[in-house]
Each structure stands twice: as C-alpha cells, then as structure tokens.
C-alpha cells in the first residue's frame, strides 16, 4: 500500500476508499502504516479500521501510539477494544502505559478481568506467567468429539488459539487434544479415547528462555502453564515463544559485546541510554587492561634490550583474544541451546585442547617462517612460535572453562564472553611471551 496515497485519501476525507484499503490490508501492515501518521490522523484512521481487525492492529502498535489512542478513546470505545484484546496483549500494554491510563483501563474492565490482569501483572519479568494468556479452550473428558467441536464453535472465536485444547478436571490438567485430531476423527468418539495424557507443561515461574527451548525442541503450538498448586492457569502461544527466542538471542549477542541489554530497538534507545548501556563494561575492561599494561612495564629491560619485542605484542594479544572468544562463543551458544552442560566440562576441555594443538601449530609455523624470512633471526622465530603455541592453548582453555563455570554458579555465561576473556587472555599472553623471551634470550 502506497503511504502517500493513503494519507492523501485520509486528508480528503475519502472515508469509503480508506475503509476499503484497510479492509484488505494485514493487521501488522496497518499498524506500520499508521505509525507514519500524525496523532490527529492516527485517531481518525484507527476509527476507520474494520472492527474485527482493530484489536489486533492495536496490539501491534508501539507504546506511544497506544498511549495516545487510549487517551483519545471514549469509555465505550475503550471497553470495545479491551473486550477484543487478548489477555496477554492487554497486560503487555499495561506494563508500558503511564499510571493514570492503567487506572482508567482497570476501571473499565469487569471485576473478574481486573483480578486476572492484576495477577498477570504480578508474575516476575521473563517468567512463563508474564507471557501467558488465560484464554484457552477447556474441554471435559466426558465430551465426544462432536460435543467438543460444538463447544469450540460457540466459545473458540474469543480464544487466542484453538489448535490445542485442554481437558481439565477440577482445574487440574488431565489431557490435551489437537484440533487436527478433532477435525479428523468421527463425532461420536469420546475425548477420553483421543486425548494425550503425557503432557509437556511449565510452571508460572519457569524462565521464558526455557519455555522457548521447549517450543523448538517439541515443535509446539502452545504450552500449558501450571501454578504451584498444580492447577492450569494459562497457555503460552508459539508467537510469543518466537518473540522470546529472537529477544534472547539478541540479549546474548549484546552481552557478548559487553553491552547491557535493552529491550528496545537500536533507534528506539536514546543516545544517553546507549551510552549508559555501554560505559560500565568499557570502564571495567579499561581498568583491567591496565593490569596488562603494568605487567608490560615489569619487562622494561627486555624491550629496552630488544625493542623489536614490543612490535609483537599486538599480534600475540589479538590472536589470543580471537582464539579465546572463538571457543567462548561456541560454548555460550551451545549452553543457550542446551547442547552443552556443565557436566561436559572435561569433555569440552579435552576437545578444545586438541583443537588448540592443531590451530596453535599452524599459526606458530606460519608466523615462525615469516619472521625467519623477514628478520633472519631464528631465535626470534622460535620465541614467537612458542609464545603463539602457548597463547593459543591457554586462550582456548580459558575461553571454554569460564562460560561453563559461570553457568555452574548461575551467572550468565554470555557475560563471560569475549571482552572479559580477552582481558584475561591478554594478561596471560603477555606473561607467556615475556617469560619465554626472557628464558630463551637469557635477558
């Protein structure tokens, strides 16, 4: 849809044409089109969206647009919108809105919805409870397929998903049945015979990353959420799980680059906030790398005697840092995908040790030959080759041990990534280098 044409039609009050355009457009695209409008046009355009699409368009808008619209809505409009919004989208919105609007919204919804919303708002951030919805299809064991289908026809339209149905008994979950099974089974079969009783579920306080992992592992469409008393309280749907997966990957990538993660996109984050997210680790790493500098000064005599030694510092430090972050990155990603666990520590260390022998030998020979050709100095070639070998082995071991240790003591492995490891590896590589040089050159 051409944005300019839409704005022109809206400005000329060609409501019929605007309405027919909105009628054929996808909800996500409407939200993105509306984000280019001014506030006044936004309120006008939103009221022209077909009623059955309005709630979904709204839940795809960013907070500033939602805030503006909620302020503009009449009581009746607000009530209509809240009736159509899924519970998890309502809660997502409330988490971001200013307090006065939250109050107005809570006053608008029914008492039972209000208590439900308050409970959902209370689940810890990043827990299954905080991303679940409370609207799901609830069936009884005694029903037949035909009765279940009739029940879904009556109530299903208001549920976020009807493709996995839950069979409960006194609020405990006893089985699940897929819409596919219902649709391909004869009407008179009892649900009891059709339902699966081995159920994958999570608790309200389960971490959302674990929830997302279950979705990928078992290819789920929805996952039931159980409270501490074993009662079913909601479901997480696959679209929210996909968002969690993307967000968690972004968070890990961000942390590996020594940045405090932000939930907003690059452009949504202000310059000041960007600076705030980046300064702490830079400061920590800056002061730790001073240690490396201090160690270098201890070998002042060495590089006073052979000034050429200094010129190899960047190469050794960079190679060590790169080797370390290679290992660390693979291990951190493996931990995030649940492919590597702490119990694998020695297996990983042995593997990294063998890898580092090959990698180290290759780099040592390549560089040794280069130095011999360039400087005709076999002693220097041997010193650099040995230092490279030692640095690579050390870097790969540090790189694989630290993330696994972090995991063991419940720290985030991603925090242990490249920059912190680089600083450690820098220090060790300088020590290895100057010690080898001192011994071999008898300095």
């Amino acid at each position: 849809m051409d944005k300019d044409i839409f704005i022109k039609l809206l400005a000329q009050r060609e409501f019929k044409a605007v309405r027919s355009i909105l009628d054929v457009m996808n909800e996500v695209d409407i939200a993105s089109l509306l984000s280019t409008l001014s506030d006044k046009e936004l309120a006008l355009a939103f009221r022209l969206i077909p009623k059955d699409k309005a709630a979904e368009v709204f839940s795809n808008m960013d907070t500033s647009m939602q805030t503006y619209l909620v302020t503009m809505f009449t009581e009746k409009e607000l009530k209509e919108l809240l009736d159509d919004l899924y519970m998890d989208d309502t809660v997502d919105m409330l988490e971001e809105l200013p307090a006065n609007l939250v109050k107005r919204i809570l006053a608008t919804v029914s008492a039972s919805d209000r208590s439900m919303i308050n409970q959902l708002l209370n689940y810890p951030e990043d827990s299954a409870g905080s991303i679940m919805t409370t609207e799901y299809v609830d069936l009884r064991e005694e029903m037949t397929v035909g009765q279940a289908m009739a029940h879904i026809k009556k109530t299903g339209i208001h549920k976020e998903t009807i493709y996995t149905c839950y069979i409960t008994e006194r609020r405990k979950l006893v089985g699940i049945v897929s819409a596919k099974d219902l649709m391909t089974t004869d009407d008179d079969v009892p649900i009891k015979d059709l339902m699966e009783t081995e159920i994958i579920s999570v608790y309200t306080h389960s971490d959302q990353e674990q929830v997302a992992q279950l979705f990928t592992k078992y290819d789920l469409l929805a996952l039931p959420v159980i409270d501490q008393d074993g009662r079913m309280v909601g479901i997480v749907t696959f679209d929210d799980a996909m968002d969690v997966m993307v967000d968690e990957a972004t968070e890990d990538i961000t942390k590996m680059a020594a940045i405090n993660p932000s939930e907003k996109t690059y452009f949504e984050t202000s310059v000041l906030q960007h600076a705030k997210n980046r300064i702490p680790w830079l400061l920590i790493l800056m002061f730790t790398s001073i240690i490396t500098g201090t160690i270098i000064t201890r070998y002042e005599n060495a590089f006073a005697a052979i000034p050429l030694l200094v010129s190899f510092i960047p190469m050794l430090m960079d190679t060590g840092g790169n080797c370390g972050s290679q290992s660390a990155t693979l291990i951190i990603r493996g931990i995030a995908l649940d492919e590597i666990r702490f119990t694998d520590l020695f297996k990983v260390m042995f593997k990294e040790f063998r890898i580092s022998l090959i990698v180290g030998a290759f780099l040592a020979v390549a560089n040794g030959v280069r130095i011999f050709i360039q400087y005709h100095n076999p002693g220097l070639a041997v010193v650099i080759a040995c230092s490279l070998m030692g640095t690579v082995i050390m870097a790969k071991l540090v790189g694989c041990i630290l993330p696994l240790l972090a995991k063991k003591v419940n720290l985030d492995p991603a925090i242990m990534a490249s920059p912190l490891i680089t600083t450690l590896v820098d220090t060790f590589s300088i020590l290895i280098y100057f010690n080898i040089a001192t011994v071999l050159f008898r300095l």
Copy 2:
C-alpha cells in the same frame, strides 16, 4: 523415563513393557532415548514403537541412526516409513544419507513422489523451496464450510498442518482460510465469503532468513510458496521457520567470533573440522595485526624516550576494540532483524557520534584522573585522555559504518564484526595515540 530401566527391559525382551513405555512417551524424547542405545538394540526398539509415532521419531533422529535403520529395514518396512514421513523430512534425510541408500529409497517410493523429491532436492540450499513441504490442504472456492471440513476429515490426517488451508484455482493461490475460521463458522457458509485474499507468500528461491522474518513479523503458522509461474507448490511450516531462526542466529554469532559457521552442533563437529573452521580468520587477523606491530616500531624513539608510553598500548587497543565491537554488534543484529537498513547510514553515524562523545568523555576523564593521581604527570594524563577520546569516536564510527557498507555490497555484515573491526581499530588507535604523544611531548 529412566534410561537404564528401559535398556534393562529391552535386554530382558520384556517387549510388552517396552511398548507401553514407548506408547506414552513423546516422539522427540523417544528419539533422544534411542540415541543412547547400541545399533542392535536400536533396530529392536524402533520396531516396538507404535506405528503412528514411528515416522515422527525417525525424523527426529540424527543421520547416523537414520542411516543404520534404513540399511536394516526390509522393503516393506521402508515403504511404510516413507509413506508416513512428511515430504520435507524425507528430503532432509536424503540430503544427508549416503548415495546407495538414497538410490534405494528413490526406488521404493512411487513415481510421482520420486519426481517431487527430485525437484525438492534441486532447490538451492537455504531457499524457501529447500525447507518447504508439498503436503497442504487444498480447497476450492465453491465449497461450503461443511464440505471443506468433510474434505479435511478425509485427507487432513496426511498433511503436516491443516490449520491454514489454501484455496487454489488452476494451481494459482486465490485465498487462504484458517481452521479457526472453519471451526467457528456455520456449515453452509461458502468458503468464498470466508477466505482472505490478501496473502503473504514467498517464492521457491526466497532466502530462508527472509522466510523466518515473515513468520515473526506476521505471527504465521504456515507460509505458501509460489514458483516462478505463480503456481502454489508448497508451504513452509512454523516449526521449520523456528529452526531457521535459531540456526541463523547461531550462524551470525559464530561469524561474529571469526569462525566459519558449521551446521552441526559443537560435539558433532570433529576436532579437525573445528580447527579448519577457526584457522582461516585467525591467520588473516594475525597477519593484519602485524601491521599494528610494524606501526609501533615506527615510534621506537617515542617509547625509548618515555618507556611508560608502552604500558598504555593494551588499554587503548582493548578499549578501542571493545567500543568498535559494541557498535558493530548492535548494527549487525539490527540489520539481521531488518530494523536498520543502509539508507539509515547517516542517521546511525550521527547517533554513534553523539554516543561516542558521551562515552569518550566519561572514559577520558576517569582515566585522566587516575593517571594524574598515580603518576602526578598532567602531561601524560592529557595525552591518554585525548587519545581515548579520539579512539572511542573512531572506533564507534568504524564499527557502525563497516557492517552497513558490507550489507550494501551484499557481503555478510556478520563477517565485518568484532575481529576484523578490532584489527582496523587497533591500527588507528596506535596512530592516534603516538601522534598525540609526539605532538604534545614534542618527541
């Protein structure tokens, strides 16, 4: 399920007990349990899996187990398995199996399946065609909801998903209708009135990363795939899209750490292959960092006159590298999630410039004060503070420009990440540092 009990029951030939255990277990878990068995036990256990679960268990196994089983199967067993496997899982398996087994399998399937499989095998790797399945629910505009439901009941059981149904006319896609709409609408409503005609689709040659982005953007369950002549040829389902998302994130993370990406997990990759994936970039980066070393030797006089200068090299280089990779990482992730485009270059540069002013000033003052206190040397404090400021600004600009340029010339932005940027930034920071020192100390 306790693995040891299962193995014991199997060894004691307690087939009834084994069968009841397998009966209640999830397919993914069965595959993982079977992976711990010896080959002989595997063949035995696989034959005890309930028939309706066998194909899905099989598609969750790794290649070595699949290869072994296919070798062991009788013609009849193989045919039964292939009948139950979804087309995309069959193709995934064929891509990995040794040639003689592929031949045997192609000889077993029907002629029409064979030509379908051959076509699917021909789509480029990482294309929508290579991950799609050809089994979907195909409806006609003239049908009523009741007729559609009857059609699904008859044919749906063999389709990977029945939750999005496709209305085609002479093989062109004219509309889609969700199972939810079918289930919540009266039987006599014509499909024509219910179907959506604004359809999101991809081409067989579309990149799988773009496919995954559409799933997250529009919260899709399935996405139709169209060939060059506009005919519908298959669908991509959400489970494959989730796998692509995870794989693409892993690939980006791996590349950012200067490793050639591998499709296998950490433990699946051999030591030699790990070494091969890591050596190329290490070698390239090692030789580029020699440039930095060479530049340092050009300033031999400077650090001969003031040896303390050398000790600040690691700190400046590390800080520059960290700053650069912070910016690069955020930009690369933003590009991957389609939040940042090349046209944003100047917007990004201006933002990074303002961020670097704040970050640079902060680090410069912190370090300047420390040096003044530690060495009582205001000249040195000013040199280091100015160098830090210059390094941070330079590093942030390099870090944001390179990935966007890479994107523009169709290189992978992730390749431009931390290590390559670090080397560039290292060189520039040394130049900035020694030039400032030379000027201010009149060396």
